[in-house]
Amino acid sequence: MSEIRVILAIARNDFSYFFRTKWLMAILLSLNLSDMLVVALVYGNMMTFEYFNYFVPAVVVMGLFAASMDTGRRIWLALREGVIQYELSLPVSTKGLVMAYLLAGGAAALVYASSLLLIAMLVLQAGAIVSAIMLLPFLFVLAMGLAGIAATLSAIASTHGEFFFAFQNVVQIVLLTLSTVYYPLDKVQNYLPSIIIPLVSANPLSLAAEALRQYTFLGLPIEIGLLTRILITSVPFAIVGSLAYLGALRKIQSEGKI
């Protein structure tokens, strides 16, 4: 069996693990749907602009973020339960194993976010289905990048689950706060120091949310520039995450634990 087929088999296995975790599915779906159908609606009535139309696409990005970050929980579980030793004995290179986890993280998050996207498109009666489909590969790369962050966190947290979840919350607060997921850039500029604003603009979550709003829901023509920026800002996360996870696996191989 070729390396790629083994990587895909491991990725498929981890992908299915995500959807088998029913309690997680229930939590994610209830949070995201309540964000979409309750919070957005209520806030929409309090805002001076069409907040409902603004926020519902962003919930798709939040779902993508949350589902991607679950990669870290699964990696942490594999480390804690010793499943990682089993995986290290499978006929795949250590780098291939890392790749499998990131692929699974990206794919699981994409499928989950796609279901939210479908609901959002129904809610907002958006018709740019082709644009939505064209965005998916870019969302997949972003999800892999976020899975890379999650992998890094789990590698740092080692077998201490509480650390992983604490780190995850910090990253979540930072990445979502410093983004245009919740509010447009002109509103964000009102409460964040100007020095941070370029970071908010460059945040891949902002870019993805913006792309969804413009191309899928407003039906504007797709601009390659924005999509390229999503790739450029996501890939480093995936690379850093791969290296961190690879480092953790190498440490297990040399020291027996991390």
């Binding site: 088998r20 010793g82 499943v83 795949v92 191989q253």
Partner: protein
């Protein structure tokens, strides 16, 4: 070519040596049993051969492939049943085995029938729809061993394959391991269960505190203990003292005790060659043998003989 060969293999955790300059070989198609108490380095050796751990120094080869330099190639040849069962919590046993089979390149149709057979043979049929996290210790262990049995690897590594498994289950697993050998696999089993070692081993390697102690067939290891075989005799004789003297002269006799008038206890090497000589002497001395009872040393005695400690000592 040896199936497995290590040269001065060393694994160090900080200042602690888990393995120290281990030289060790396994022949092709052999069942090698690693025997040693907890902390003797058995699992560390297995994990290095399984490419899960990297050695600190020295060399280990599986089928001529260096485990440190060519881990991916080595992984294609081996299957591992870990000491603690490793499974995906939310997967069912069949999912776990199907995944393992697919990753290891077992054709789907073959995997399906093998998995079904294993479920029946290893009494996992009733547990087939449970999630891994709900399996009992024994069921999880049987599932762990099943991974190797579905895969049929060239080199199988089994770390305490029957721990937590009931007596009947142990026997079933041992039979399956034997079948694997008959199909051409080389098998390495780590255990601290003497019965398991005696049942399975073509050769036994004794490890103690990370060091190689001795390696040989069970028979030869037992025979290497001078006076290890105990022959208890009940003999009718009018001259017990002279008979005792004559028995003492038989080659291989280490000690004879004569607790009661017609009861003798002989500590001998290789009872199988000692007993015929003893019967001849009894015949010549007109002594009538009522009973003979032979007790051979266990592998625990072998371990004690070579290390000065018992297998269970470190567990206490």
């Amino acid at each position: 070519m040896f199936a497995v060969e290590t040269q001065k293999l060393t694994k160090q955790y900080g200042k602690v040596y888990a393995l120290k300059k281990l030289d060790f070989t396994i022949d092709q198609n052999e069942i090698m049993v690693l025997l040693g108490p907890n902390g003797s380095g058995k699992t560390t050796l297995l994990l290095i051969l399984a490419t899960v751990l990297k050695p600190t120094s020295g060399k280990a080869e599986v089928m001529g492939l260096d485990v440190a330099a060519q881990p991916t190639q080595v992984r294609k040849l081996l299957g591992v049943a870990f000491q603690e069962a490793r499974g995906f919590w939310r997967h069912k046993p069949a999912d776990i085995l199907r995944f393992h089979a697919s990753v290891c390149g077992v054709p789907k149709t073959k995997a399906k029938s093998t998995i079904e057979d294993l479920f029946k043979d290893l009494e996992l049929w009733d547990a087939r729809n449970k999630l891994f996290m709900h399996l009992s210790g024994g069921q999880a262990k049987r599932l762990e061993v099943s991974k190797v049995l579905v895969q049929r690897p060239k080199f199988a590594i089994l770390d305490e394959p029957t721990s937590q498994v009931d007596l009947r289950g142990k026997r079933q697993i041992w039979e399956k391991i034997r079948e694997l050998q008959e199909e051409g696999s080389t098998i390495l089993v780590a255990t601290n269960e003497v019965r398991e070692a005696e049942y399975l081993a073509d050769r036994v390697t004794v490890l103690d505190r990370g060091k190689f102690v001795v390696s040989d067939s069970v028979r030869r290891l037992k025979d290497s203990i001078a006076g290890g075989d105990i022959v208890e005799l009940e003999i009718d004789t009018s001259e017990p003292k002279s008979l005792e003297k004559a028995l003492n002269l038989i080659e291989g006799t280490v000690k004879i005790t004569n607790a009661e008038e017609n009861r003798f206890k002989a500590y001998v090497s290789m009872a199988e060659s000692w007993v015929p000589k003893m019967t001849e002497i009894c015949y010549q001395n007109k002594a009538r043998i009522h009973s003979i009872r032979i007790t051979e040393p266990s592998l625990d005695d072998v371990f004690l003989h070579f290390t000065g400690r018992t297998l269970r000592e470190d567990d206490k």
